[in-house]
């Protein structure tokens, strides 16, 4: 076959390939990019359709927005730290101190991923709420008039619920990373005189760092955008960005303010998603 004959069909295939990109791009544009553009337009354009940053700056400079931003960051960071601490402890236990039923426990923890976030919150109200089981036991046990445990309807309640819901997102990559740690490294280190804590610190954690970063980034991303838990707990004074967007759009019908906050929320999410992708890439090596 001549060279020209060999090249011609390949060129045709390439052209056809280029056209195949069009349908998914069109769907993406319609379902994702166009709504985003509408949000950006609603946030940054005035009634006449001209670009106007005044309203956006008013929202961004408002005390309520800054409080919500601070709350979002505090709750997300605290929840992520909690997820990392709990996830790491559980992963170390499940991977390196196996006990009968460890696999079952890991699968039970995994099922939290499948549960709606509000369901966990609802369970928490039965457990830790003012009329919950824990308060009931303590109140009747100690003969108290008022329930003594009162953290659920605060930022701590939100953090506890988020830690419960999102810990599996840290646990899973950590368990995967731990399964790749060469057991003979641990054994050799132990025989060289290293006690368990040193082995965790110097051998296991460095090997699992990309997994912890990936899981932590994902947690941060999800907790920044968490809406159901915050709304369901209804903690007094705990307003986060997603809740503020809901409040502005649905309760106050201030769509422009809602869109401005949404833009900030999207930027924050995309930044965290970039961090997650970077960490995940490192994890894959």
């Amino acid at each position: 076959m001549s060279e020209a004959a060999a090249v011609a069909p390949r060129a045709a295939r390439l052209n056809l390939g280029a056209w195949w990109v069009a349908p998914p791009l069109t769907i993406l544009a319609l379902l994702f990019l166009y709504p985003l553009a509408l949000i950006a337009r609603a946030a940054l354009a005035d009634d006449s359709g001209a670009l106007n940053f005044a309203a956006a700056l008013d929202v961004l400079n408002s005390r309520a927005f800054l409080n919500a931003l601070l709350n979002t960051a505090e709750i997300a960071l605290a929840s992520t730290a909690g997820c990392l601490a709990l996830g790491l402890t559980l992963a170390l236990t499940l991977a390196f101190a196996p006990f009968p039923g460890a696999g079952f426990v890991a699968r039970v923890i995994d099922t939290f991923i499948a549960l709606p976030t509000f369901l966990v919150t609802l369970a928490f109200t039965f457990l830790y709420g003012s009329a919950g089981i824990l308060n009931g036991v303590v109140t009747s046990g100690l003969g108290l008039e008022h329930p003594p445990i009162d953290f659920l309807y605060s930022a701590w309640g939100v953090i506890l619920a988020e830690v419960t819901v999102y810990t599996p997102f840290v646990l899973r990559p950590l368990l995967a990373a731990f399964s790749l740690v060469d057991r003979s490294e641990i054994e050799v280190a132990s025989l060289l005189g290293a006690r368990p804590l040193r082995i965790v610190r110097q051998i296991i954690l460095p090997a699992a760092l990309p997994a912890a970063i990936a899981g932590g980034s994902l947690c941060l991303l999800l907790t920044v955008n968490e809406f159901g838990i915050v709304l369901f707990i209804g903690a007094k004074g705990v307003i986060t960005l997603p809740l503020m967007i809901y409040s502005k759009a649905i309760q106050e019908s201030d769509y422009q303010a809602a869109c401005v906050i949404a833009i900030v929320n999207i930027a924050l999410s995309l930044g965290l998603f970039g961090l997650y992708r970077y960490a995940a890439r490192r994890l894959r090596g």
Binding site: D182, E185, E187, V188, A189, L191, L192, G193, A194, I203
Partner: protein
């Protein structure tokens, strides 16, 4: 590059005080996993400064025995002593041992110097001592110029040298080697065997427990060899003794693939320490004592001790028929039939090799053969 110990550095891995407390003793040690016994009660002692090789096929229990010494598996029964101290219930980090494993197990995120320093840091050694010891141990294994490299930047042989340096740095009472050369290619493996032999001759107080499935490593390095089979000690003895006078069929076949021919003892020979035996129609004289007339034995003779040329020394003669010839460059392997049995002959020079189905006369000296009982144990 070779593992060489400068005179002043010999103290790094051994010392007078080490020798006194570096013997290892298994006292009826057995190991079971979920009820399945993988090591039957094992009793043996490794003297201070000795290299004991534990060999055997897969599943023989040799690695399990080593891991029991290390503290990675808890014996179901028996006691383990290191330097006279019962270490059976001590965690690995309190046993004062070090180990080199097949896949090196270097810490991938640490540089070579950090790997070597790891054990010393774990034991709380002073910074000056650590720096001095790391430098000396890397010099011992011929790797001082690689101190700043990461393990992934080294070849397999270099990684194994670093693993040895890391083990030596803590001055272990006993060095445990678990198939340390298995991951290396044949040429590097041969070189490393020679280097480990030299290392031990330079550090004579270092006790080494060496697990391998490679008999040539064991024959080259070990003072004594223990052969395990199905979780049980099958034979143990000084290397040369075990090779030349295997106590049972398994030891003879596993260590050096000896020829085993069914023989019947006819009585004592004129010369003391020899007996007359019959193999098929051939009447032979071989080394042996205390074999009663009429007893059935296995005549054990190594392939390289059989020749095609008889002389006064090689007075034993067996008739055989050539079944196969394998030319391997330096060596020629002949496979021949002796009655219903098969013998292998290894010849270094064979100017006129026989052909298949040729009849052969095979010779061997009475001192090159011995008799073993079919059902003999250790």
């Amino acid at each position: 590059m070779s593992i060489a110990v400068p005179a002043a550095s010999a103290r790094v891995a051994a010392g007078a005080e080490t020798a006194a407390r570096s013997n290892v003793a298994f006292d009826g040690v057995s190991v079971a996993y979920r009820g399945a016994v993988v090591l039957k009660p094992l009793t043996l002692e490794v003297a201070a400064g000795e290299i004991l090789a534990m060999i055997g096929p897969s599943g023989s229990g040799k690695t399990t025995a080593l891991r029991a010494v290390a503290g990675f598996v808890r014996p179901a029964g028996g006691r383990i002593f290191v330097g006279g101290t019962d270490v059976t219930n001590l965690p690995p980090y309190e046993r004062g041992l070090a180990m080199v494993v097949q896949n090196y197990a270097l810490f991938p995120h640490m540089r070579v110097s950090e790997n070597v320093a790891f054990g010393l840091n774990a034991r709380g050694a002073a910074k000056d001592l650590i720096a001095e010891r790391v430098e000396e141990c890397l010099r011992i294994v011929g790797m001082p110029q690689y101190a700043r490299r990461l393990p992934r930047e080294l070849s397999g042989g270099q990684q194994q040298r670093v693993a040895i340096a890391r083990a030596l740095a803590v001055r272990p009472r006993v060095l445990l080697l678990d198939e340390p050369l298995s991951a290396l290619d044949a040429q590097i493996r041969r070189a490393m065997v020679e280097e480990i032999a030299k290392l031990h001759s330079d550090l004579p107080d270092l006790t080494i427990l060496y697990v391998t499935h490679d008999q040539s490593e064991a024959l080259t390095l070990a003072d004594r060899i223990a052969i395990l089979k199905d979780g049980e000690l099958c034979a143990i003895g000084r290397t040369a003794d075990l090779y030349h006078r295997p106590p049972n069929r398994f030891a003879a076949e596993f260590l050096g693939r000896a020829n085993l021919l069914p023989a019947v003892v006819e009585g004592e020979a004129a010369e003391s320490g020899f007996v007359r035996v019959r193999v098929g129609e051939a009447k032979l004289v071989v080394a042996g004592r205390d074999h009663p007339a009429g007893a059935e034995r296995l005549l054990c003779v190594r392939p390289q001790n059989l020749t095609l040329a008889g002389d006064a020394e090689r007075s034993n003669r067996i008739s055989a028929v050539v079944r196969d010839i394998h030319w391997q460059g330096e060596l020629t392997h002949l496979v021949a039939e002796v009655g219903d049995a098969v013998v292998r002959v290894v010849a270094t020079r064979l100017p006129n090799p026989p052909k298949r189905r040729d009849r052969l006369e095979v010779f061997f000296a009475p001192t090159d053969a011995n008799l073993i009982a079919e059902d003999a144990i250790v």
